[in-house]
């Protein structure tokens, strides 16, 4: 009723039809790229390979702030900060999710290597953060336990 459809690209007639059919990517609109292969990977290792971050080195300079126990896997808040100088990207992977890669953020001049987001988790899992700096990859993990609750209502 009061949900608005703003800036719907689909409404743009023939171009919209092509976009909806997936025949054309709206690159012009946002200059967006999306690493299909990495997001389709079914293991964290494969996803990292697709991101060019295989063999990332463990690092204590990546801080993951997340609850130890999540009451509901539908919303699990995670905050990641890379203290590695020159960090240009952070990837977030939920190891036990069917498609582990949840997001990858590229930071340009002017942004800190920091992101806070809410993810869905199907079950208790390690959350892995992978930072790239100076062409090298670094990683840290944190386990988050997921419980379910409620009486079916």
């Amino acid at each position: 009723m009061f949900v608005k459809r703003r800036g719907l690209l689909k409404a743009a007639g023939a171009l919209g039809a092509l976009l909806a059919a997936g025949l054309l990517r709206p690159i012009a609109a946002l200059a967006a790229t999306w690493n299909k292969e990495a997001f389709a990977a079914k293991s964290a290792a494969d996803a990292l390979k697709s991101l060019g971050a295989a063999g990332a080195e463990a690092s204590g300079a990546i801080a993951i702030e997340a609850p130890q126990i999540a009451e509901n896997g539908a919303v699990v808040p995670i905050e990641i900060l890379s203290n590695i100088p020159g960090t240009t990207s952070i990837a977030v992977l939920i190891e036990k999710n069917p498609f582990p890669l949840a997001g990858r953020f590229d930071f340009m001049e002017g942004a800190l290597a920091f992101v806070k987001l809410n993810v869905k988790m199907g079950e208790t899992s390690d959350v892995r953060a992978v930072a790239t700096a100076g062409g090298k990859s670094y990683t840290a993990t944190k386990e988050i336990k997921v419980t379910i609750g409620g009486c079916g209502g």
Binding site: R6, K10, P26, A111
Partner: protein
């Protein structure tokens, strides 16, 4: 649910500007059934872009594993009152939205 409004706040912190952005989006995984018993098609934001005074500073690629009605925080180095922050998103069905605010 169609994609709806966005909301953003940009506040000066200690040496950085905190940008908190909320997006109204179903982030459907393609695994969920609707009230008619049919699977709801995959529908999720794929790209999130943050610009400061017209210059891109963060480019995010995300999956359907981001929670419904996504909320993100980013940090911009320094920043001054009045700096223009713009955040936009694009989803897998070609819908897009953007919002902008001035640093407070």
């Amino acid at each position: 649910m169609a994609a709806g409004p966005m909301r953003m706040r940009a506040t000066l912190g200690a040496g950085y500007t905190d940008v908190r952005v909320l997006m109204s989006h179903p982030m459907e995984t393609g695994q969920r059934k609707g009230s008619d018993g049919k699977l709801i098609p995959l529908h999720f934001i794929q790209n999130v872009t943050v610009k400061v005074n017209g210059k891109t500073v963060v480019e995010g690629q995300i999956s359907q594993a981001i929670s419904r009605n996504p909320v993100f925080s980013f940090r911009i180095k320094g920043g001054a009152k009045g700096d223009k922050i713009e955040v936009s998103w694009l989803d897998n069905q070609g819908e897009t939205n953007s919002t902008e605010t001035a640093v407070a």
